[in-house]
């Protein structure tokens, strides 16, 4: 039965949206909707309200989850503004013969360097060489956008220490029809990802592929090469990468 008051009409529309009208009344509702433009306008407004309420509740939910996740992320990130510890008294240095001092320094430097290349993360440069990979104008010729997205996502996952996410994406880039620069960069990122994932043998195989390729285009600095070689070795000795 068509409601008579505005309140009843509101309840009628609500019941329709909630699928709570009996079949006969539902048909009546839809007839009214077709034939009464004023009523149709009212229903359209109520539909708009439903959509906005949906959006509001969703935004509220995302906001709650987001707040939790941000707390987690920030707890995981290293604190960069911690004040350095300053000793109150400098210990007095005793007199040591020069040769002992030099030998000690050399040993300390060796230990420090070994520790550094063992423990420090591999630098992953975020900027890509514009010249080598072909410049801006030709990028749009890339046959596959998916490859490109995989490349960027894979690199991001390596940088955020999520090798399980990075490996399949970077493997896909290697199989893609993209410029050699991107394939080579992907091989380097993949080596690091394998190491992060405790897959030392795969990391070594990929690194050997890189070193044996005279046309390798991605620029890896000397220190990073030492780090990866050493970290692969350590990972193979101890059965893990870190």
């Amino acid at each position: 039965m068509r409601p008579k008051t505005a309140y009843e009409q509101l309840e009628w529309i609500d019941a329709y949206f909630q699928n709570a009208l009996p079949p006969q009344e539902r048909i009546e509702f839809e007839d009214e909707l077709r034939t009464n433009p004023e009523f149709a306008k009212e229903v359209a407004f109520m539909q708009q309200v439903e959509d906005v309420v949906d959006d509001f509740l969703l935004a509220e939910m995302v906001s709650e989850i987001h707040a939790e996740k941000v707390q987690e992320w920030h707890a995981e990130e290293p604190r960069v503004h911690e004040a350095p510890v300053v000793p109150l008294h400098q210990p007095a240095a005793g007199r040591v013969p020069w040769w002992k001092w030099s030998a000690g320094m050399a040993a300390a430097a060796t230990i420090a360097f070994t520790s550094y290349i063992t423990l420090s993360p591999i630098e992953l440069h975020d900027s890509l060489s514009q010249t080598i990979r072909g410049g801006d104008n030709s990028i749009s010729e890339q046959p596959s956008r998916v490859c490109f997205e995989n490349f960027y996502a894979g690199r991001s996952f390596v940088m955020t220490q999520q090798p399980e996410q990075a490996i399949p994406r970077l493997q896909q880039v290697i199989d893609c029809e993209v410029r050699p620069y991107f394939k080579d960069a992907s091989k380097w990122y993949l080596t690091v990802a394998y190491l992060q994932a405790d897959q030392a043998q795969q990391a070594e195989n990929m690194y050997q592929e890189i070193t044996k390729n005279p046309d390798f285009q991605y620029d890896i600095n000397w220190l990073d090469k030492q780090k990866i070689r050493w970290q692969i070795r350590i990972a193979k000795w101890f059965g893990k990468s870190n």
Partner: protein, 200 residues
């Protein structure tokens, strides 16, 4: 590894989309958490590496997830074979971030570079653009809804959020009976209608 394969597999992505479309708020909540846990970190990292700080990255993540879930729920987003949810999130975020950088006058080389990569017709790019435009409209209405005040917002959302009947809403609001709650709801709707009319 098996879990991971399942996670990035198309079938699993379809499952996630189905959960994001769910009317069950608990299931939706868990699905959004999955988006945060498995698909969004490249976006955050991307912003921090492209002229943004941690706050910018967090803000962009939130709006990207919200827009994505809205697009999934209203049918604007459809998964294509060979593509990933994550790639789409990335394009969505990239577009928003590009606009932010433009507004700040910080258009940098790498942003121009990314523009050149997507200059041709691209499904994700077009889709992301369309969703952003749709969202601008919806966000206007959402702002108007927020102008209603807490009491009206509670009355209009309590059924959908907590499944409360008008009787229960009346009790929670301290009204004597259900009729008063319905009357209040009507008044809130009239207020909202006036706001919407003013906007259009």
């Amino acid at each position: 590894m098996e879990n991971f394969k399942e996670l990035i597999g198309i079938q699993s992505q379809e499952k996630l989309l189905a959960r994001l479309r769910s009317k069950d708020r608990r299931e939706l909540n868990e699905a959004i958490r999955d988006v945060y846990s498995h698909h969004i970190s490249p976006v955050r990292y991307f912003v921090m590496q492209n002229g943004g700080n941690a706050q910018d990255a967090d803000d962009l993540v939130q709006i990207t997830v919200l827009n994505f879930v809205q697009a999934v729920r209203n049918g604007s987003f459809q998964l294509q074979e060979g593509t990933t949810i994550e790639a789409f999130l990335f394009v969505l975020a990239k577009n928003r971030w590009r606009n932010t950088l433009k507004q700040r006058g910080l258009m940098r080389d790498y942003v121009q570079e990314m523009e050149s990569t997507v200059a041709d017709v691209d499904f994700w790019e077009a889709s992301a653009q369309r969703i952003m435009e749709e969202r601008e409209d919806q966000e206007r209405y959402l702002k108007l809804f927020n102008l209603l005040g807490e009491r009206c917002r509670f009355i209009l959302t309590a059924y959908r959020r907590d499944g409360l009947s008008m009787k229960e809403i009346a009790r929670q609001m301290g009204y004597d009976n259900e009729r008063i709650a319905i009357n209040e709801k009507y008044k809130c709707l009239q207020k909202l209608k006036a706001l919407f009319r003013y906007e259009t």
